[in-house]
């Protein structure tokens, strides 16, 4: 097993020294702190694999330190083992409530501490590899669907690629970190078009009028894609974003139209929104709004990002505030 990085936080120098020496002898890399404040600052810049945390400390007690860690998305996965002379049931319950994974009573037997450290480090590594595998599996599933789109229709694939590019550009311009769900939703938003007869797709592709039956078929493509994706665990949100792409209800007050011009967006034949003339910019806005607003981007926000000539505008302060609200919505989703 690779060397693990263990952080010890205890206001008693003798305890720090004892644990430090013993863990180092067992091959662990050890960092020790007498105060929670110092430990939190260090964990932020260099997160450890596990934290051994005393409860009774000056400035900030162990529960508060643990709660701070758990409220930070980047640090919340770090397992915390409490080490304390407080042996009441309430103290232990409080320790677990604040986010601890284990509790060792003082005075402790070092072998017990070491066994628990080893167990939780192994568990964390298993969780990390499981997460990596899940990410690869999801990535593989999405790549397979994307290849299916490419095999069915290179033009459709090109269009999907452009939409993804635009969503990423908008997200970058309004300074939101793109949650992976948006990126995948943009990539696969036209997946349902593989179910369309070639002639319907071609007409929609060229912006020609569709018959009522063809219109009905075309309007069903988001639902088809959403149904396919909903069968893949963890892609439920992607599926919902795609399902809402033609629905004005997805973003109350949205200017997105589901009638007439909301065809497969012709702009994607071009190199990108920065070079698009007015009509294409409008379509670009529609598609971007259709994908991005579902999780809380207010109506018109994406639309304001493009000028009438199709260039991406420099965002104003109000756009940043919007982006902040949007980003917090996205974070809520990630937590969910």
């Amino acid at each position: 097993m690779a060397e693990s990085d263990i952080m010890i936080v205890d206001d008693n120098p003798a305890n720090l020294k004892l644990l430090e020496d013993m863990l180092q002898q067992r091959g662990y890399e050890v960092r020790s702190f007498p105060l929670g404040r110092l430990a939190l600052a260090s964990a932020k810049t260099n997160p450890p694999d596990l934290i051994l945390l005393d409860i009774s400390m000056p400035e900030m007690n162990g529960y508060q330190v643990c709660e701070r860690l758990k409220s930070d998305q980047a640090l919340s996965d770090i397992p915390v083992i409490f080490l304390s002379a407080l042996n009441g049931a309430e103290d232990k319950v409080q320790a677990f409530r604040s986010g601890g994974v284990d509790y060792v009573s003082k005075p402790f037997q070092f072998e017990e501490v070491q066994a628990r450290v080893q167990t939780h480090v192994k568990l964390r590594r298993a969780q990390q590899s499981e997460r990596a595998l899940l990410e690869k599996t999801l990535g593989g599933a999405i790549a397979t669907l994307w290849e299916l789109v490419q095999l069915t229709s290179p033009a459709l694939a090109l269009r999907s690629h452009s939409i993804r590019d635009i969503v990423l550009r908008i997200a970058k311009r309004i300074a939101i970190g793109v949650p992976w769900q948006y990126e995948h939703a943009a990539t696969l938003c036209l997946l349902g078009c593989i179910s369309l007869p070639d002639e319907v797709f071609e007409k929609a592709y060229c912006g020609q009028d569709l018959s009522p039956d063809e219109e009905r078929m075309f309007r069903a493509h988001p639902e088809t894609a959403a149904r396919l994706l909903s069968k893949i665990p963890r892609l439920e949100i992607v599926s919902e974003i795609i399902r809402g792409q033609q629905s004005p209800q997805a973003n109350p007050g949205s200017e997105v139209s589901v009638t007439g011009g909301d065809r497969i967006t012709p702009f994607s034949n071009r190199t990108g929104p920065e070079t698009l003339p007015g009509r294409h910019a409008t379509l670009c806005n529609r598609r971007a709004q259709a994908l991005l607003p579902v999780q809380g981007l207010p109506a018109g926000c994406a639309g304001r990002l493009f000028s009438r000539t199709g260039r991406i505008r420099t965002p104003k302060a109000s756009d940043s505030r919007t982006a902040e609200r949007h980003d917090s919505g996205a974070r809520c989703l990630e937590h969910g």
């Binding site: 952080m7 120098p13 720090l16 020294k17 430090e20 180092q24 890399e29 050890v30 960092r31 020790s32 702190f33 007498p34 105060l35 110092l38 430990a39 600052a41 260090s42 810049t45 260099n46």
Partner: protein
């Protein structure tokens, strides 16, 4: 503390920065070895004072002293 602060002003800046870094990451093993270098490079008094602070894990005091030394 004032004497230690004055002594640190004579220590090479690179070593001060390494000491500051070891303190901020809480790595006592590296901190001890860097303090040994302070002692070996001539200032045994400063080395002893630093070691005393380090053994008591008085990282706030160490950080303050080392920050001041970095700014000189």
């Amino acid at each position: 503390m004032a004497a230690l602060s004055a002594a640190l002003a004579e220590i090479p800046l690179e070593l001060i920065e390494q000491l500051r870094n070891a303190t901020s990451i809480g790595n006592k093993r590296i901190l001890d070895s860097l303090i040994r270098r302070v002692t070996e490079t001539g200032d045994a008094g400063a080395g002893r004072s630093l070691q005393e602070l380090a053994d008591k894990y008085r990282y706030d005091d160490l950080t303050r002293l080392l920050d001041d030394a970095c700014l000189r």
